[in-house]
């Protein structure tokens, strides 16, 4: 029998509906640290199901398509005439989204890798687009906090943001999110809504931090990381949306000491521009505008990350507490 779980993300109600299945279970596990919504109405609904033929289950929208995202093994397309998305990972995990209507359908085969892709990439990209239509704009960034002030650790996959965030958490800062935040424009600037997703721990991070030693083995899937619930790593409270006080762009180096170099607002916005998926024009312009406000109101630094993991939390705390 179909059931619906509702989650509160950035003040919006996000429903995950469908028959009980390994895909529902995996999504529920992924979202276990996200606050639940007890209401009955949803802003965005994900209808998820297991099927032997995901491509047949979800029809292709009409009209021309353009690619919006690159990821090995899949095609991720946007249809401008109808503002729809069709995401297809090798035919084993497929998603169709109408972001403005808040309607997303995900279908996957019972294979473990299909379920992992369906519960991650196929969920995240449509969620990002649905929230974008509703004034919440994604930034690929971890978030840590000290004394009610928040630092964003920004960068694409592999930049070292998760590792730096976990090192900061180990050093006494609050870990608010591992990979994504959503920014929302307010009268005086922007606020940050951390996305309380599970944390992805790669082998290198597990080797670096002794308390993560149990994650040094191979991760279960090709996505390359072990998944840890956020609640296991932090006591930070859900529902807190602070203004950002600093943005860091880490770059892992072989040096012994970490160093900070200030960035201009232009450099910051240029570094953040990759967060705008090139889909619907007005929403994408609004996303770029929000990033522009973030870049001009929040000091930013390149951080050459050295081997001094015991000193890195102090470096970040000092920026937040001055």
């Amino acid at each position: 029998m179909s059931a619906t779980s509702r989650y509160l993300i950035d003040g919006l109600s996000i429903a995950v509906a469908g028959e009980p299945s390994p895909l529902r279970e995996r999504l529920n596990a992924r979202l276990r640290s996200v606050p639940r919504d007890s209401g009955r109405m949803s802003d965005v609904t994900f209808d998820v199901a297991i099927t032997d033929a995901p491509r047949s289950a979800l029809p292709r929208p009409e009209g021309e398509a353009r690619p919006i995202y690159e990821h090995p093994g899949g095609t991720y397309s946007y249809f401008p005439a109808s503002d729809e998305l069709l995401l297809d990972y090798a035919g084993i995990a497929v998603a169709h989204a109408r972001p403005l209507a808040g309607s997303i359908r995900i279908r996957a085969t019972p294979r473990a890798d299909a379920i992992e892709v369906a519960s991650h990439l196929m969920f995240t990209l449509p969620l990002v687009e649905a929230l974008k239509r509703r004034g919440r704009f994604v930034v690929h960034a971890a978030a840590v906090a000290s004394r009610e002030r928040c630092a964003l650790i920004a960068g694409s996959t592999g930049a070292g943001k998760s590792t730096l965030a976990l090192v900061c958490a180990r050093g006494g800062l609050d870990l608010l999110s591992d990979d994504l935040v959503f920014v929302e424009r307010k009268v005086n600037g922007v606020v940050v809504h951390p996305f309380r997703d599970e944390i992805g721990v790669g082998r290198e991070t597990a080797v670096l931090l002794p308390e993560l030693a149990r994650y040094r083995g191979d991760p279960p899937f090709a996505l390359g990381k072990h998944a840890i619930p956020l609640d296991e790593m932090t006591t930070s409270r859900a529902g807190w949306s602070p203004p950002p006080a600093v943005i860091l762009f880490p770059l892992v180096t072989k040096g012994s000491i970490s160093r900070l170099s200030p960035m201009t607002a232009g450099e910051t916005l240029e570094a953040l521009a990759g967060n705008v998926l090139p889909t619907e024009r007005a929403a994408s312009q609004a996303h770029l505008d929000a990033l522009g406000v973030l870049a001009t109101t929040c000091p930013s630094y390149r951080m050459d990350v050295g081997r001094d993991i015991d000193d890195q939390p102090r470096l970040v705390k000092d920026m937040l507490e001055t």
Binding site: T264, A265, G266, E267, L269, E270, P278, T279, S284, T296
Partner: protein, 89 residues
């Protein structure tokens, strides 16, 4: 023949961040950054000005030699056209 009055193509998003402007071309997803005089030149490409008029404004703002500004502007407009970021009004 009407002089060329440059104008952004419809698929270009732009945002100023203090002295810089970042552009995103929505069909390709490519992003670009323009600083200082280049950012001003972009903002003046609104379809109402010829390149000569744009150069005059920039030269006045930066107290620069018109020949240098014209050369820089020609190069910039050439690149923006190649990338599909501007068209004639």
């Amino acid at each position: 023949m009407d002089p060329f009055r440059p104008l952004p193509t419809p698929g270009v998003l732009s945002r100023r961040a203090l002295a810089s402007i970042v552009l995103i071309e929505i069909e390709s997803g490519r992003s670009y950054a323009l600083d200082g005089a280049g950012a001003l030149m972009w903002e003046l490409c609104d379809g109402s000005r010829t390149s000569e008029e744009i150069a005059r404004v920039v030269a006045s703002e930066y107290r620069a030699d018109m020949r240098v500004v014209n050369a820089d502007l020609d190069e910039l407009l050439g690149r923006l056209r190649e990338e599909g970021l501007i068209r004639a009004a």
